[in-house]
């Protein structure tokens, strides 16, 4: 096997393995990693939304950006660049988050949920593929968001520095506005209160960020490249994640391992952890994520990695996702295990329409 292929299999496998381990050490079930959920928790911890059960500064996110930053410098690939439709990317980031919070997961958590036997993730996967297929149509008809240009080195450092700041905040957890309970809000119960130790979560994030930068792992890129040019490179990472999470969950059951949370393979639609079974909205929510991710040039994980590697457009997309999470919760657009609120349905449809408009309006003239 070619070395590069071996490496993407390996990277996907490590992500899958860490996803299982993080649950054993305290992350919510089927949520060893979830870029969307974790960015949403960060938005909550900063008080941008007040959904009390999903507030925590997730060190995994900080680790991924910093891991990619380190990988970028180690490989001399770090490159501060930006200016490719930055504001459009900000809003695409918002919309991707809206879609993800209707399904309750980013593409990475979708695979992790599927590996745990959550069949709602299969419905979502079909939607995700449909969304990517629409994005591929736009790419084939000449869509792009324009050229990025080199930026000052400092610009590429801004998001990594913010991540170091967030790391200090999660460690110190300052409380000088006791009346309001902040400025940093941590959930006392719910998913936000379930987390692995800071050091473990940070190291897991660093590893994933490093490997994803080196292997270019992207959950949307796999399907996209397969549909576009029959290239299966990125798809290997996607499949490795699913396979290892599945095996890990089975193995935990067979060996009778127990942890703070004990992952399990539990096939079905109902009663899945942090999930709902509204098929249409799982499908459409992830269709929005798939389409938005192709327009952005990568899934939420890839945006973090690119941002760590100096891409300021991706850094802005990440900020868009964090703001998107705040909007989702404040405007009652986020689903919960209880189901999908009505506003969320309008938001997903609206988001799809906006993405279609972005696709049509950003074609290069032939």
């Amino acid at each position: 096997m070619k070395k590069e292929n071996l490496f993407i299999w390996f990277s996907g496998a490590v992500v899958g393995l860490l996803a299982v381990i993080l649950v054993l050490f305290g992350n919510p079930l089927n949520m060893g990693f979830c870029i969307a959920c974790f960015e949403r928790d960060i938005a909550g911890a900063l008080g941008l939304h007040r959904a009390a059960v999903v507030q925590y500064i997730r060190p995994e996110i900080l680790g991924i950006v910093l891991g990619a930053f380190i990988a970028g410098y180690a490989s001399k690939e770090f490159r501060p660049e930006g200016g490719s439709s930055t504001i459009t990317r900000f809003f695409l980031g918002i919309l991707v988050m809206v879609g993800a919070l209707v399904f309750l997961g980013c593409p990475l958590r979708m695979m992790i949920r599927l590996g745990g036997g959550d069949l709602n993730a299969l419905v979502a996967l079909l939607g995700f593929i449909a969304g990517i297929a629409v994005g591929v149509y736009f790419l084939k008809s000449g869509f792009d968001l324009g050229r990025a240009r080199e930026q000052k080195t400092f610009s590429g450092w801004v998001l990594p520095i913010v991540m170091i700041g967030l790391l200090l905040l999660v460690i110190v957890a300052p409380m000088f506005n006791a009346e309001a309970g902040g400025p940093i809000f941590f959930s006392a119960e719910g998913p936000g209160a379930q987390h692995a130790a800071i050091a473990l979560a940070l190291v897991a994030g660093l590893l994933v960020g490093y490997l994803a930068q080196r292997s270019r792992l992207c959950l949307a890129g796999g399907t996209r490249d397969w549909l576009l040019i029959k290239d299966s490179y990125l798809l290997k990472g996607f499949i490795a994640i699913l396979a290892i999470v599945f095996l890990g969950n089975i193995l935990v059951g067979v060996l009778g391992v127990t942890g703070t949370n004990t992952p399990a393979f539990n096939l079905g639609f109902e009663g899945q952890p942090i999930a709902h079974a509204e098929h249409l909205w799982n499908f459409l929510g992830m269709a929005l994520v798939g389409l938005g991710s192709v327009l952005l040039g990568g899934c939420p994980l890839r945006q973090l990695v690119l941002a760590g590697n100096g891409n300021t457009d991706s850094a802005v997309a990440v900020l868009g996702m964090i703001i998107g999470a705040a909007i989702s919760h404040n405007f009652m657009l986020a689903a919960s295990p209880k189901g999908v609120p009505d506003f969320a349905k309008y938001a997903v449809i609206g988001g799809l329409i906006i993405c279609l408009a972005v696709g049509f309006l950003n074609k290069e003239k032939a």
């Binding site: 490989s75 792009d144 890129g221 490249d225 040019i229 040039g297």
Partner: protein, 72 residues
């Protein structure tokens, strides 16, 4: 004179698509692809090699010039 494809600053997968398009339009000519990232360099090289081209990489400052020739 080699056909030039300038994909500097464009993000994945547009550089690959533009390279494929150039290959389709000029099946037998030499193609020069200008890229400015390792990712694009690797992706364009992979797609050119899969299309039966040999690729010669020249580093120019922060950029790479990929000379793609039919056959090897």
């Amino acid at each position: 004179m080699a056909m030039e494809v300038d994909v500097r600053g464009l993000s994945c997968p547009v550089p690959v698509l533009k390279t494929k398009e150039a290959i389709k339009k000029n099946p037998n000519e030499e193609i020069m692809v200008l890229v400015d990232s390792q990712v694009s360099k690797q992706n364009v090289t992979r797609v050119a090699e899969n299309s039966g081209y040999s690729v010669e990489v020249k580093s120019v400052g922060d950029e790479f010039h990929l000379k793609c020739k039919k056959g090897d």
